[in-house]
Symmetry: C2
Subunit: 189 residues, 2 copies
């Protein structure tokens, strides 16, 4: 008599794993890699959690573990119950986004910090965001429409977000770590 846990509603991370399993059996390792690539820019997950969710979902009957292959690879396969749980999850109202930006925290307490230090942080983040934007734009140039409409739309979100952040950096007053005039005349393309 194999008891399956009553079926609590899925969390977004577990549901995403089920989503990826629609394409065929995958191991925890593969799922982490896939998720990082496909949804990593707006949904973070960790190895630890993936393996934990897989174990829980197996107990709940949403996936079944296959034979252990080479290098301890343990492929998981979607069940009908899993397919249904995923469909139910996908149909829910997606909640509001959450942003956690430590630099803004630092800035909010800026009165307690040496101005030059804050400026250095801002400069470092500007650089990082520039690199991310370039990465996204290169991806769109290469892959272009080959991504399909859905991945294209999420990529577009990333591009617009990064541009907004960069714009914000560019309009920051020197008082709060923005660069003073003469840095790099002529804004971004």
């Amino acid at each position: 008599m194999r008891e399956t846990v009553p079926a609590r509603p899925l969390n977004a991370t577990a549901a995403s794993l089920l989503g990826f399993l629609h394409a065929g059996p995958l191991t925890g390792w593969d799922l982490v890699a896939t998720a990082e690539m496909v949804i990593g820019d707006f949904w973070s997950l960790t190895r630890s959690q993936v393996y934990r969710e897989l174990a829980a979902m197996e107990a709940a009957g949403l996936v079944v573990a296959g034979e252990i292959g080479p290098r301890e690879r343990r492929p998981y396969q979607l069940t009908d119950a899993g397919r249904e749980a995923f469909a139910t999850w996908l149909d829910r109202e997606p909640g509001p986004e959450q942003i956690r930006y430590p630099l803004l925290l630092t800035m909010a307490f800026g009165e307690h910090l040496a101005p030059a230090r804050l400026a250095a942080f801002v400069a470092a983040h500007r650089k990082a965001h520039t690199a991310r934007l370039e990465g996204y734009e290169a991806l769109r140039a290469e892959a272009g429409a080959g991504l399909g409409p859905f991945a294209g739309a999420t990529l577009d979100f990333g591009i617009r977000y990064e541009r907004a952040v960069l714009d914000w950096f560019d309009h920051l007053s020197p008082e709060v770590g923005g660069r003073s005039e003469g840095g790099a005349p002529g804004g971004p393309a």
Copy 2:
């Protein structure tokens, strides 16, 4: 011999509480309210965690609890050790931001979802973001420069972010839930 835990590095939430305590003693309840107002838009925290961090910080000697007042109010006061821990924390390199946006997840798996359903989600989020932007702009119009440069800069981030999201919504193709032509001609101000 009062043992104080060795001094592990502060987490951002605990540090923020110390930051707010610079203005004078506050209770957990007050801290939650303050934090929600000042940093709530880019750093989420919950009652549960605030009380837990306060207890931990008291054990570590970073704050001292005062007398319990009316309605069980227990004010916490900053110690010198707390002031120093805050300064050290503030001086660290702020890490990258994290965004978790369930709507993008839903969209990424859009091929498994009825198009009309996705469009409804998108419409609901557009509305919510419009409201948020209006709230921010009203705040800037009312409070204006009275916020000070630091709060002004973080508010500005919020405004630019919301505008970027709204722009993204406005350029979404109908295929991925964007509204077809004829919705509301003439974009946002």
